[in-house]
Amino acid sequence: AEGAVAGAVFQVWVFVVLFLIMLPAMFGLSLGVTGVYIQVLVKILEWATVRIQRGRMEQPSVPVPLPNGIIERAGGSMEEEIGELRNSFALSDAFYFYKKGLESIVDDQVTQRFSSEELASWNLLTRTNQNFRYISLRLTIIWVLGVFVRYCILFPLRITLAIIGLSWLVIGTTLVGFLPENSVKTWLSELVHLTCYRICARGLSATIRYYNKENKPQKGGICVANHTTPIDVVILANDGCYAMVGQIHGGLMGVIQRSMVRSCPHVWFERSEMKDRHAVTSRLRAHVAAKTKLPILIFPEGTCINNTSVMMFKKGSFEIGGTIYPVAIKYDPRFGDAFWNSGKYNMVSYLLRMMTSWAIVVNVWYLPPMTLQDGEDAAHFASRVKSAIAHQGGLLDLDWDGGLKRGKVKDSFKEEQQKMYSSIIVGQNGISSCSQSTKVE
């Protein structure tokens, strides 16, 4: 009797996976199931939020999160507070620096970008709560149900899809790779890639909405986007084919990379090549110059940021030439936290967390193409593109380098602060020849 039940369950499983997910994915169709699922989720989460707010009034020890930072910062720039061009020093000048320093100890704009965003309401995931599940019995029950649904129903389904998607990618691209170079091969390669990414997206219950599709990246161009997670690649590749850029890895990742490059030209570098900026740039330039190749996908931040802000864009990507197609990606934090905190979680545990979230809801905006203007240097161009992306995605535009996640800030920034202060207390002409440059910022 158990064998029959198991057999039946397995058959239902295969049916669901094959006909309700895989085939529609191949043809880019949607059965609308995810849409209904999301709506149901939203209703439940709204109820949970209201319940928590009520619970907060009864138990004042439950903290209220402050999305804008935990302190109220008054005060403006150095000039405003110390006084423009006073030409004199006052003992109280030091207070400005003390105040700024203490404010940054309590809450700063940079380190918070490298950890997950604190949510204003609970999304029924233990990983973002503050013991909310103890507020009421009903909330606890819903949470337990949620755990069951996520781990026992959604997770196995998603793992199956991910395995199918990735194997299909490897097998399909290898098969296509045997064909001679012609338009059939290109078309088949695109089909294989798209199908695989669509299956993977369903494997994450991803709901993606694309805006301004008329600005989609064209062949011979460069697509730049803000970076939050490795899943960004899946999100973008669901709607178009890109040439990926990156370092070649060993293991499973390496197998996937090597088979992908058989069917269409991606740009994979050896580790040693990555260090040589000149070599990297010239290879990318060659790719772009051959205007028939797929647009390159680059993430100029260089590292994953937590999707509340956009950090400095490294100018290397903007020196290649060609047209830049900026894309803004914004994840909805209510359904799951997409940010990959690489210091805290390795890739495998990150993917596990993703597959046991509710869903991934993401908005993608294609921005109008941009090119280097006359007299503009790469750094300024990078900054301009970054502002456009930040503005569209509703993200904070920061000039800080994402590399600060791991490295120290450059001394030159401190020297700038010192120079600025010096010009306030002795005036622009008073700066002595101790310093090399005569131009005062």
Binding site: F97, S116, G430
Partner: protein, 188 residues
């Protein structure tokens, strides 16, 4: 992250810190969350490197002095209590405290204590006087390499001359707090 932080800080500790510093319950849990996020070594204390990892603090010309203020004499680790005690100096004065006219001891964030804290950032050797050398040190930190020694020296001399009322060529705490505010000074 929220859940880890609130389970490690016991209620009794929160109450003690509340009494000592005047922060509210939620302020303390929030600051504890900040403390643990800075504590990369996860050993319950912060070292100077943990502070240096904050970019906005690392580029602050007086950053090192401010960091030093958190560490008691001769130690390189500060625990959460010490962290809160130093921060308590900068807690804004609540409306309900402004009217209290007698209390057992002056609260940590009274105006006098705030000024004493600022005074000590100049007066490194704790002899209750800011000497010319100590003033020069802080000035040099704030201006970097942009001003010559001679010019900096004359700025220091002028400052001491204006503030020194008892002629000992250094600035005592009383002289420090009497320095008239220049336009734009904050009301501390």
């Amino acid at each position: 992250m929220g859940s880890r932080a609130s389970t490690l800080l016991r209620e009794e500790e929160i109450e003690e810190i509340k009494k000592e510093t005047g922060f509210s319950h939620s302020q303390i849990t929030r600051l504890y969350s900040r403390f643990t996020s800075l504590d990369k070594g996860e050993n319950g204390t912060l070292s100077r490197e943990d502070f240096q990892r904050i970019p906005e603090l690392a580029i602050n010309p007086l950053g090192d002095r401010i960091i030093n203020a958190f560490f008691p004499e001769g130690e390189d680790q500060v625990n959460f209590r010490g962290f809160m005690r130093t921060l308590a100096h900068f807690r804004p004065i609540e409306d309900n405290e402004k009217n209290k006219n007698s209390s057992a001891s002056e609260p940590l964030n009274s105006r006098t204590n705030k000024l004493l804290f600022a005074f000590r950032l100049y007066d490194l050797d704790r002899d209750d006087k800011i000497s010319r050398d100590e003033l020069l040190q802080v000035l040099r930190m704030m201006v970097g390499v942009n001003i010559s020694d001679e010019q900096l020296g004359s700025i220091a001399d002028r400052t001491i001359q204006e503030a020194d009322t008892n002629g000992d060529n250094s600035i005592s705490f009383n002289e420090f707090i009497k320095v008239p505010p220049v336009d734009g000074e904050q009301d501390y």
